[in-house]
Amino acid sequence: MVAAANLQDTPAVASVWQWLAQVSDPEIPVLSIVDLGLVRAVGYEDQTCVVTITPTYSGCPAMLVIESDIRRALRGHGVGRLRVDTRLSPAWTTDWLTPAGRDALRRYGIAPPEGNAAGLCGLARRAPAAAVSCPRCGARDTEAVSQFGSTPCKALHRCRACGEPFDYFKPH
């Protein structure tokens, strides 16, 4: 394996994407950073592999871990020279979550964001009171308990049908 890795210090961009898809979010291990929409671009400048990522929330402490996980993963696959750039604009949105990512969240017990995040960003505008489905029993009869959960990206909800509390990945 090691010998094979050494042969290719500028692997194909498609391979790099595949390897990045195996790097998971440290807070939500079932979600890869590609499914989360954090990886915005992969390319080469001269012989240096450049991975461009974007932060989820400004203060999310996972970003530092994610960057070092990217370095470790790609070095393990024999990427020689690597640079990780951060891009702020366009700002990350949950609309970039892939369908696979949404399914993984649901299976993990976190309700994926409902509806489109675009247009939510207003001083007085509200997210429509669209029912959030319980990730455990699927019931739409749920209520918000707290606008923030264990991480900035989540809120705390409760299912009135099965009684379970659950995290909701907020549309952002």
């Binding site: 932060p55 203060g59 999310c60 604009s89 366009p90 949105t93 007085a124 900035p152 705390l156």
Partner: protein, 254 residues
Amino acid sequence: MDRFLFEYVLRLADSGLILSQRLAQWCGHGPALEEDLALTNVSLDLLGQARMWYALAGAVEGAGRDEDALAFLRDAAQFRNYLLVEQDNGHYGDTMVRQFFFDTWHYLLLERLGGSGQKDIAAIAEKSLKEVAYHARRSGDIVVRLGDGTDESHAKMQAAVDAIWRYTGELFVDDEVTADMASRRWAPMHDELRPAWLDHVARVLAQATLAAPDSIQADHPAHRGGIVGRHTEALGYLLAEMQYLQRAYPGASW
């Protein structure tokens, strides 16, 4: 160095950091677990935003000061935050009124800065705006709930509004810094934000059955000066606590 750009960005960075520190003081003391979580999450958002502004300020200054040097190694007179954000937390209602006044202004300002001709400012503002929209809706909701609550919560909220109102005028002060930024279309004149701020605040206060003080009461010169380094006593105590470790153990790292 682009002095006006540096000063302007520092105002945003310092205001975010100081309010973040104030909210973090609630950690473990919130009136309910959910509120504790919310305040510290808002604090975290503001800290993340402040770090982006400090990184930009440090780059503009070009003197080798990074975000830590700017946050931890300056004294009160070098801080450029608005007086509003350094005020003591008081009780939970005081904190939420201060937050609501700030969030509303912050939202309106970031909305304009998102269209800034300076691309770093525009990117940080675009990123922050979505977080601040959530803050503003939440603090507005709490103001309504507590204002239109029991007789006791109503009285406490009205007293909080009356006491904190005086620090809101500074948010709309223009000087050579904002004028220079506006002339380059990098930021709005802050006075332009005031009608929309008053409008939104009046609507929420009315919904909360609270009386809005006359805006003239926010314009006394004694209640401004933070953005040029003239602070209230509260800031020194806050910095003493926040900067202790880096001052006592210079260069300390985890």
